[in-house]
Amino acid sequence: MIRFVIKRLLLAIPTLWAVLTTVFLLVRVVPGDPTIVILGDQASAAARAELREKLGLAKPILAQYVDFMGQILTGDLGRSLATNRPIVDDVAAVLPYTIELTIASLIVGAVIGIPLGVWAAQSRDGFADWFARLFSLAGVSFPAFVSAILLLIVFAVELRWFPVISAPRTDALSERLAALVLPSLNLGLLMVAYVTRVTRSGMLKALGEDYTRTARSKGLAQRTIVWRHAFPNVLVPVVTVVGLYLGVLIGNAVLTEIVFNRPGIGKLIVTALNQRDYTLLQGLMVVSAFAIVVANILTDLTYGLVDPRVKTP
C-alpha cells in the first residue's frame, strides 16, 4: 500500500510540474505590468523598478523560472512582499484550520447526504424524495457567502447560540468544536447537496440493475438488498463527486473563513489581495493547487478501496 502511494505520487510529478509552471506563467506572462497593478499607475518609475527587483522580475524569464522551481523544490515559497516573513511559515500557521474545516464539512456531507439520498431513492417521488430535492436545490443554490451570512444572522445575531467570530480563542477542544459548528455546516451544506444527489441517482440506478434482481431472487429482505447489495455500488460515484467538487469546496472554504472571520488560507488570501502581496498570492496558489493534486491522489486510492474492479483488472 505504502509503495502504491509513493508510486502514485511519483506519477503526479508531471502534473505538479505543469501546475507550478502555470502559476509561474500566470503571474508573469499576463498582459500588463504587475508593478502597475500593485503600485497603481501613479507610481514613480523608480518605485516600480525597485519593486521589479524585489519581485525578481528584472532577471531574464528563464532565470526567474529556475529560481522559482528551485525554491519550491527546497520547500521555500519565498517571502511575503508585505511582511517579509517566509510564506511557508504563514501558511503552516493557518493550514490546520482550513484542513479541519474541510474535513468537518466532508463529514457533514457524508453523514447527512448519504442517508438522505438512500432514503429519497427508496420513495421515488414520495415525501423523502421531494424533501431531498428541495434540500439539495438549496445546497447548490446558496453561494457560500450568502448562506454564511444567513447562518450568522440567524444563529449568531438573532439567536446568539454561536459566536459571531468563529475563531477559537483557546485550544480547548470544546471551544474548537463550537467554533467549527457554523462554518462546517455552511461548507457542508454544499457537500450534502452533491452527495444527496449522486447517492439518490446512484441508488435508483443500482436498484434497477440485474444484480438487485438476483439479490431479490435469493429471497433477501428489502433492507439487506438496499444496504448490502445496492449501496456499495453507490460509493464509486460518491467518491467521484466528492473528488470532483473538492476544488469547489476549497474555494468555498475560503469564503466561509472570511465571513466567519476564521483563521485559515481564506483570510490569508484576502490579506494578500488587500495588500497587493504578489508573492504571498503566488505561494497560496501553489499550496491550493498542491492540495488538489493530493486530494486527487487520495480519490484515486479510495477508488481502489470501494471498487474491486479498479484494484484487480
Binding site: F4, V5, K7, R8, L11, D300, L301, Y303, G304, V310, K311, P313
Partner: protein, 322 residues
C-alpha cells in the same frame, strides 16, 4: 479464381493497447488480428464466423479503414485501401459500405430518415435539391419500407425496420461490396428471416459482394458461398460453406458445428461441461491458439504456430494434424 478478387486481405494485423490497473496503470495488448488473410470475388458472399473475441468485427473495421492497421494490406479492386489518399479514399468509400449489428446505435437518433438517407447522396453529389426525395423514396421501396417513413425518426421504428433503414443507407452510394457485421443477430427469428431474404434479393438484383460476419453457423450456411472461420485473431479454416460445415477440417470448426443446436431432437449437440475457461485474447496460448481446448493436441501444437495451407481446391486449414 481466374480474375483478380474484388477484395484481397493479406496478413492483416491489428493490436489494441489498453492501459489498465490500479494504482499504476499497466499496458496490456490485445492482438485482435494476428495475420488474417482472405479474398472476396465480385458478387461473392464470404462468411466470417467465430466467437466473441476472435476479431471478426475488427476485420471489417480495419478493412474499411475505420481503424488503422498495424501491418498487412487490404486491396480493393487493385488499390491499397490503407495507402489511399484522402481523395482516393472518398471515391473508394462509395464502393464499400457497412451494415451494423445494432441498427439503433448505427443511426443518428436526431436525424429523420429523409436526412439520414439523403445526406450521403448530397455529400457525394449523387443527388441534389429536389432530386433527393425521389432518390430516397426509391431506396425505401427497394428495402421494403413505406414512403411514409421518410419524415419519421429512427426510434419510431421496430428493430427489423431500423435494420432496413441501415441497409438502405448502405445502398445509397451503390456500392460493390458490403460488410455486414452481425446484421441479424439482434433480431427475432421471424424478422431475421425477412432481413436475410432482403439481403439475398439485393445480392441478386445488384450483383453485390458481401463480407458477412456472424456467430450463427445456420445463418452463414444459408447466406454465404464461402466461409472463413476465425479463432483468437487468426483464420483457422476456410472453404466453400457447404463443404466446411459438412466436413470440418479444423478441430475448432468441428467443435463449433457440434455445439450449434439444431431444431431436431434426434441430433443432440456435443456438450462437455468439464472443460475450463476459454483462453482470453489478452494472453493467447502459444503455438496453435486452440491447443488447450483440443483433444488431439500434440507437443508440436503447443509450440509451433500452424500455417494456413491449402488442403484441397478452395479449402485451407491451419492445423498440424489435418
Amino acid at each position: 479464381m481466374s480474375e483478380a478478387p474484388l477484395l484481397l486481405v493479406q496478413d492483416l494485423k491489428k493490436t489494441f493497447v489498453a492501459h489498465r490497473g490500479w494504482p499504476i496503470p499497466k499496458r496490456t495488448e490485445v492482438r485482435a488480428l494476428d495475420g488474417v488473410s482472405f479474398e472476396v470475388g465480385r458478387g461473392e458472399v464470404l462468411g466470417v464466423v467465430g466467437e466473441s473475441g476472435c476479431g471478426k468485427s475488427t476485420v471489417a473495421r480495419v478493412a474499411l479503414r475505420l481503424q488503422p492497421s498495424d501491418g498487412g494490406s487490404v486491396t480493393f479492386d487493385g488499390a491499397d485501401v490503407h495507402m489511399a489518399s484522402r481523395r482516393e479514399m472518398r471515391a473508394m468509400r462509395r464502393r464499400m459500405q457497412m451494415i451494423f449489428q445494432d441498427p439503433a446505435s448505427s443511426l443518428d437518433g436526431r436525424q429523420r430518415i429523409i436526412d439520414a438517407l439523403g445526406e450521403p447522396l448530397r455529400v457525394h453529389g449523387i443527388a441534389r435539391g429536389a432530386a433527393v426525395r425521389p432518390a430516397v423514396e426509391r431506396l425505401l421501396d427497394e428495402v421494403g419500407l413505406p414512403r411514409t417513413a421518410l419524415d419519421r425518426y429512427p426510434h419510431e421504428f421496430s428493430g427489423g425496420q431500423r435494420q432496413r433503414i441501415g441497409i438502405a443507407r448502405a445502398l445509397s452510394l451503390s456500392p460493390d461490396l458490403i460488410f455486414a457485421d452481425e446484421p441479424v443477430s439482434a433480431l427475432d427469428v421471424s424478422v431475421q428471416a425477412q432481413i436475410l431474404m432482403l439481403l439475398e434479393r439485393l445480392r441478386r438484383d445488384r450483383g453485390l459482394a458481401f463480407v458477412f460476419i456472424s456467430h450463427d453457423l445456420g445463418v452463414v450456411r444459408h447466406f454465404c458461398d464461402r466461409v472463413v472461420v476465425m479463432y483468437l485473431g487468426r483464420v483457422v479454416e476456410s472453404g466453400p460453406t457447404a463443404q466446411v460445415f459438412a466436413e470440418p477440417l479444423h478441430p475448432y470448426t468441428r467443435l463449433l458445428k457440434e455445439s450449434s443446436p439444431e431444431p431436431d431432437p434426434t441430433r443432440t449437440i456435443t456438450m462437455n461441461f468439464q472443460e475450463g475457461e476459454p483462453p482470453s485474447p489478452v494472453s493467447p496460448p502459444t503455438g496453435c491458439h486452440f491447443h488447450p481446448r483440443c483433444r488431439l493436441a500434440t507437443e508440436r501444437c503447443r509450440t509451433e504456430r500452424p500455417a494456413l495451407r491449402d488442403l484441397s481446391p478452395g479449402r485451407t486449414v491451419s492445423c498440424h494434424l489435418a
